[in-house]
Symmetry: C2
Subunit: 462 residues, 2 copies
C-alpha cells in the first residue's frame, strides 16, 4: 500500500524558510506596484485552449500543459480521428483546457472581456504561477511565478519612465544596489535593418546582434552572413559594433546612422525622451544603460525594450524584462490598445539575494516565543499566557506535551526562537513567569499580569 512519494520533475516543494524568503520578495514587489498605482487582478490557472494556442509560436504551443477532458472523453472522439492515432489531432478532441503559459495573454483576454468595467488607462499587476512543459534544468522550472505590471490604454512615454523608476525602487528596496536597467527600442532595430537594406531579415539580424556580449563581433558577423545578410549591409551596420560613451553620446551616433530612417529616428527620439526624463528625476541605485543589441521579445514589442541585469560580479541572466506592445488585445477583438509592461524574475532574484546574503536575518525567525510545557496544571496557565501574547501580536506557542525539558529546549533551538518562557510549579505558585533570552542566556522574571508589557518589550526589540 505504501508508496514512496515524489513530485513531478521541474516542480518544487517550498519549505517554511523558502516560503518566507519568496514572500519577502513578493511583498516588496507588491508594495511598489501599489505605490505606483497598479491594481491587482487574478485570472484562472487554466484557460480555454483556444485562448492560449497559437499565441506563443509553435514551440510555445508544444510547451503548453493541456488538461484532459473529464468523464468518458474517448467516446466523444470520432472514428476517423481516433484511427489516425495522431497526438496533435487527438489532443484537440480530448482536451479543451490548458494551464496558463504566461500572464500576458490571459491579461489581454481579461481586458477584452471586462472592457466595459475597466477605467482606462488600466494599470494592473498580477503575481501568479505559470506552467511550461520545458525540459527542466538549473533555474528553469515547469511551475514558476511571474510578477507582472502593465498599463494598457496609455501611450505616453511617461509610462516607460515610470517603469524605469519602478525597477529602481524595487531593487533598491531589496538591497540589490547597482543593477543595470538596459533599454532599447524596437523602432531603432527596425531603422537599422532599414538603412542597411536588410529589412526582411530583421529577426535574423537582431537575433545575431543580441549575442554580441557572449560571442563577440566576429562570430556575430559570421552568423549574419550565414543568415543571408550581405557583407555590404554588415559594413553599414559597423557603427553598432563600435558604439561607445554615455547614453547621450550613443544617441548622437545613432542619429547619424539612422538619419534616413523615419522609424529609426522616432526610436531615437523616444529613447532620448525616456532617458533624459528618468535622469532628470534621478534613480536611487540602478544604472540606466542604452543597449542597442537588446532585442528580447522582438515579435511582440513595438517600442521600448527593457532588461535588468544583476549588479556586476553576480553571474545570472536577466532578473527582469519588458517593453511596449502596441496591439496585444487585437487578437481578442479589441484593436489599437497600446500597452507597456515589465516583469520581475522571482526565482532569479531569489538566487541573487541568496548569493549576496541580502535576505534579512529576521526571516529566520518564525516564532517569537516558545512556552515550555511542564504538565497539566502549569499547562493551562501557560496556555492562558500564550493566548495573551498572541492577542498582543506575538507569534507564540506552547510546546504540546510535557516532554523532557532538554527536548523542548532543543526544539526551541531548531525553530530559532529568541525567547523561551518557563512557567513551572514554583513560578505558578508565585504568579510569575521566567523569560530566557536564547541569544544572551539572560533570564528575567515577570508577573503573570505583566504579560502584555512583556509582549510590547519583545516587539520593541525586533
Amino acid at each position: 500500500m505504501a508508496q514512496k512519494p515524489s513530485i513531478p520533475k521541474g516542480t518544487r516543494d517550498f519549505s517554511p524558510a523558502e516560503v518566507s524568503k519568496r514572500t519577502y520578495i513578493i511583498q516588496i514587489i507588491k508594495k511598489h506596484f501599489e505605490t505606483y498605482g497598479f491594481q491587482p487582478i487574478e485570472t484562472p490557472s487554466f484557460e480555454n485552449s483556444e485562448t492560449l494556442m497559437g499565441k506563443y509560436g509553435d514551440e510555445g504551443d508544444r510547451l503548453i500543459f493541456k488538461i484532459l477532458n473529464s468523464g468518458d472523453f474517448i467516446s466523444k472522439v470520432d472514428d476517423v480521428t481516433y484511427s489516425s492515432k495522431n497526438s496533435a489531432s487527438l489532443t484537440q478532441k480530448i482536451s479543451e483546457k490548458a494551464l496558463r503559459y504566461d500572464l500576458t495573454v490571459p491579461f489581454a483576454r481579461y481586458v477584452v472581456m471586462h472592457q466595459n468595467e475597466i477605467d482606462f488607462p488600466f494599470k494592473r499587476y498580477q503575481i501568479q504561477p505559470v506552467w511550461r512543459a520545458d525540459r527542466p534544468q538549473k533555474g528553469r522550472f515547469r511551475e514558476f511565478y511571474q510578477c507582472d505590471a502593465d498599463v494598457v490604454g496609455a501611450d505616453s512615454l511617461l509610462q516607460e519612465v515610470e517603469f524605469v523608476q519602478l525597477y529602481d525602487a524595487v531593487f533598491t528596496d531589496l538591497g540589490l544596489k547597482g543593477c543595470t536597467i538596459k533599454i532599447n527600442n524596437r523602432k531603432i532595430l527596425s531603422g537599422i535593418a532599414e538603412v542597411i537594406g536588410a529589412k526582411r531579415l530583421l529577426v535574423d539580424f537582431t537575433v545575431a546582434l543580441d549575442k554580441l556580449d557572449k560571442i563577440g563581433e566576429e562570430k556575430v558577423k559570421v552568423e549574419m552572413m550565414e543568415k543571408g545578410i550581405s557583407e555590404g549591409a554588415i559594413a553599414k551596420a559597423q557603427p553598432l559594433f563600435e558604439m561607445t560613451g554615455t547614453a547621450s553620446e550613443q544617441l548622437e551616433q545613432l542619429k547619424t546612422l539612422l538619419a534616413n530612417s523615419e522609424v529609426g529616428m522616432r526610436g531615437v527620439y523616444e529613447l532620448e525622451e525616456i532617458i533624459s526624463t528618468a535622469s532628470t528625476i534621478g534613480l536611487q541605485s540602478a544604472h540606466l544603460q542604452l543597449d542597442v543589441t537588446l532585442a528580447r521579445g522582438l515579435n511582440y514589442y513595438t517600442g521600448a525594450i527593457f532588461e535588468v541585469a544583476a549588479p556586476e560580479g553576480v553571474s545570472m541572466g536577466s532578473i527582469g524584462g519588458g517593453g511596449r506592445y502596441d496591439d496585444l488585445t487585437g487578437i481578442f477583438g479589441l484593436p489599437n490598445v497600446s500597452g507597456v509592461g515589465i516583469s520581475f524574475g522571482l526565482d532569479r532574484i531569489y538566487l541573487v539575494l541568496e548569493e549576496l546574503n541580502l535576505f534579512p536575518d529576521s526571516l529566520d525567525t518564525s516564532l517569537d516565543v516558545l512556552c515550555l510545557n511542564f504538565g497539566k496544571g502549569e499547562g493551562l496557565a501557560s496556555l492562558k499566557l500564550v493566548s495573551t501574547l498572541r492577542k498582543a501580536g506575538l507569534r507564540a506557542d506552547l510546546y504540546p506535551s510535557d516532554a523532557k525539558v532538554q527536548k523542548q529546549f532543543k526544539y526551541a533551538d531548531k525553530r530559532n526562537v529568541p525567547y523561551v518562557i518557563l512557567l513551572g510549579e514554583q513560578e505558578l505558585a508565585e504568579g510569575k513567569f521566567v523569560v530566557k533570552n536564547m541569544k544572551t542566556g539572560d533570564q528575567k522574571s515577570y508577573d503573570l499580569d505583566a504579560a502584555p508589557q512583556f509582549a510590547e518589550a519583545v516587539k520593541f526589540d525586533f
Copy 2:
C-alpha cells in the same frame, strides 16, 4: 482572427476590488496562523497521479483534473489499450500528472518526503488553490482556494483547544462575531453505533443523523430503517434526538448513554477536556457548541470534528471545518503520525462578509493621490512630485496624458481617489501644488518642498 474570449466554466477572473477583498481575508487568516506558531509551506499545483488517485474515493478520482502528457503521447500507448477505446485505461497511459484536489494529501506527501528536515511537532499552514471537476453551481467552483492549518506529531488535546481559539481569533478579527464552532468526536459516534448494536452500519447511521437539522427526527429515522438499522437500535439511540442543555449537560447525558462503550467514553472524556479548557481560557466572540450529529469526513477523522457556522441569520453552509486524523501519512509509508487541522472556507467567508457589509471601506481605495497632467513642462514637475509621494509610501499616480481636466477628474472619481493634485502653469511658477480633497471639495496649497509633510498628513488621515 479575432476570437470572442471566454473562460472555462467554474473558473473566475478576479477584479482589483475582488482581489483586495480576498487578500484582506487571507491576510487576517495568515496573521493568526502565524501568531499561533504555524509556518507556511507550498506544494506544486500538480502531483504525480499516483500520489492523488485512490485517496478521495471513486467520486474523488473522477473529479481530479488530469494533465495530458506532452509530446507524441499516443505513440507510447500499446495497441491493446488503444483498441479497447476505454477512457479509464487510456488515461493511465496518456496522463501521469494531475492537479491537486485538496491540500491535505499533498501535505501528507510533503511530511513523508521531508521527514528528516522537519522538526516535529510540525505546525504548517498552506493557502493555495485546488481544482475539482465538479459540476459548477452557485458558490461551487472548479478552482478555489483552501486555507489550511495542521499540526502533525502532537497528540495532546491542547492542539484541539488551540484550533477552537484560532477560529475565534480569526472570525473575531474579521468582525464576524457570534459564529458557532460546533464540535463532536468521532469516538462518540463509534460509541453510539456500538451501544445500539449497529457498529457495522456506522456510516449509514451518521450520514442519516447528520441530516437531523434539515429534515427532522421522523425522516432521519425512516432513512435509518431503510439502511437496515433495526427499530430496537433506533429506540436505543433516542436520547440523541432529545439532547438538550449546555455542553456539560449534554456530556452528562452522553455518559449515561455510552457507559458501556470504552471508545464512546474516551470520546466523552476528550470532548469534556477540550470544552472545559477552551471555556476556562475564554473565547472572544464565538460560541463553542457540542453537536453530536456532526459527522463530516467520517472516513477520515478519528478524534475531534469541527465545523463553523456563520452568525445566526446568515444562510450559508459551514465556513470552516476540520478534525483529528490519526494516520494520514501512513499511505505514504510513515505510520502512526497523529495530525489535527482546520480549514477556512475563503469563498463562503467572502460572501458572508459581503452580505453583512463587513469589509472595511478603505479597501475601496486603490490610489491615495492622483496628480492631474497639464502637459509637458508641468508633467515633469508633477512626475517629480509623484515620485516623492511614492517614496513616502503613498499610492500615487500621474494621469498619463494631458487630457481634458474634466476627463481626468472623472477618472479620479471612478478610481475613488481621495486626493487630487493640481500642478498647473501658475502653481509651477509659484513653486506650489494644490490638493483637492475629493470628499469635502476643500482645496489646500502646499510648497513643492513640503511634499513629504503632505504625504505624512495623508497617511495620518487614513
